[in-house]
Amino acid sequence: MTIRSIVLAATCAVFALTAAAFAQDATEKGLEKYRQMLKADPWSNPGLLDVDRGEALWKSPGGPNKVSLETCDLGMGPGKVDGAFAQLPRYFADADRVMDVETRIIWCMEKIQGFKHADLIKNPHPAGGKPVGDRGAIATYVASKSDGMKFNAPDANPKEKEAIALGEALFWRRSSTHDFACASCHAASGTRIRLQDLPELADPKEARMVVGQWPAYRVSNAHVMTMQHRLLDCYWQMRMPRLEIGSDVSVDLIAYLVHNAKGGEISAPGLKR
């Protein structure tokens, strides 16, 4: 160990102790500064690479049928992408169920492009450091086309009402070996796990601030993480098995979160720690 490394280590230790109370603030301020810099230079979020890739995937012929997704109806008519994300999840009569953006893209990739459903839902999320998959990139593109708009998912249809109510019940549902529910971490304001702040997602005020940041480029994972992936991550922590993408549980939880976030601004792709 060199003198310099000892001094460095000692300095770090002193810093860690004296700055203990401010560590959280400093981290959060640093991240906020990073976000501000990204806003000043809107082209610097690495997630934008996936927006571009998603756009190319949307417009290019693909799948066994060698056709693009440009006839895919995201709820506002075939091929209409602008503003579609701001009105998802919603009920789709052709599928007779409520769908979030990713579940709808899977549906279109299956019905229009001819992919097999089983292939589309197998290992759907990237490992750390690996880029988000095609479906995730397309979802990131679609979300970016509602950037700056406000969440306004329809809720008049009985199936939409039902999905939101089921999502709320699931949010409070305790499971598995640790009794955890989404509510264990996300039903109180101003708390954190280790140094990570926890939004109170049952409260519309806080939901409006954070839900619109997904899909987000997650710096610690070095890839874009979609909302379906984020939910799987929560269930992992809750000691549950792998949540199936597009399952009613995942869709209804998203319907509930987006309902709480109604009126909140979409800022996608976001940037997370």
């Binding site: 102790l17 499971s175 070996t177 039903a187 954190r192 280790r194 140094l195 000691r239 199936e244």
Partner: protein, 203 residues
Amino acid sequence: MRMKALIVAVAALSAAPALAQDKPSSARLDAMIKAAFPGAPADWQSRFVGDETMKECSDAHNTPAKATDEAIEKRERAKIKYPADGKLMGDWKAGEKLAQSGYGFRFTDYPPKQANGGNCYACHQLTKAEVSYGTVGPSLLGYGKQRKFAEADVKAVYEKIYDSNAVLACSVMPRFGANGVLTIDEIKDLVALLMSPDSPVNK
């Protein structure tokens, strides 16, 4: 109790249900959960359907009526098992390791490569040395010292860790002993971390 009554009152006042909608049946939710986690190992099936306490807490959004509240605490208290030799304190150093570790029961933790952790720091401040602590639970810094290392408090904290819901119905803290996350010996180590005069918690 007063705190809880206040929470109930506030919840009642602000309880504007998302939308007018019948409360989903538990059978419906059970079926949804089962379908959403296909391919789970057979011995994981019990994780899908919670026990009576979990169901009551979920249904009441963690603020059950007084009678249910008391029934939960009584039921959970009956689950607490004590060490055969009656000694409730183990080794605080082993306890500190358990407090740091969040290992165990996640789908990436199979086959198990180490003992389960208690992950206390995720939610609690415990020592001055560890600055990365959560605030979901109260700070436990100086826990034993504040209680003058009293015998009664040693027993109380053993019970709290073994089954948090025996002390506070619908606590968000896991029932470490009752749910088989930690062994009796591991819980003793955590009790020592909180209640031993030598522990960094009390320095």
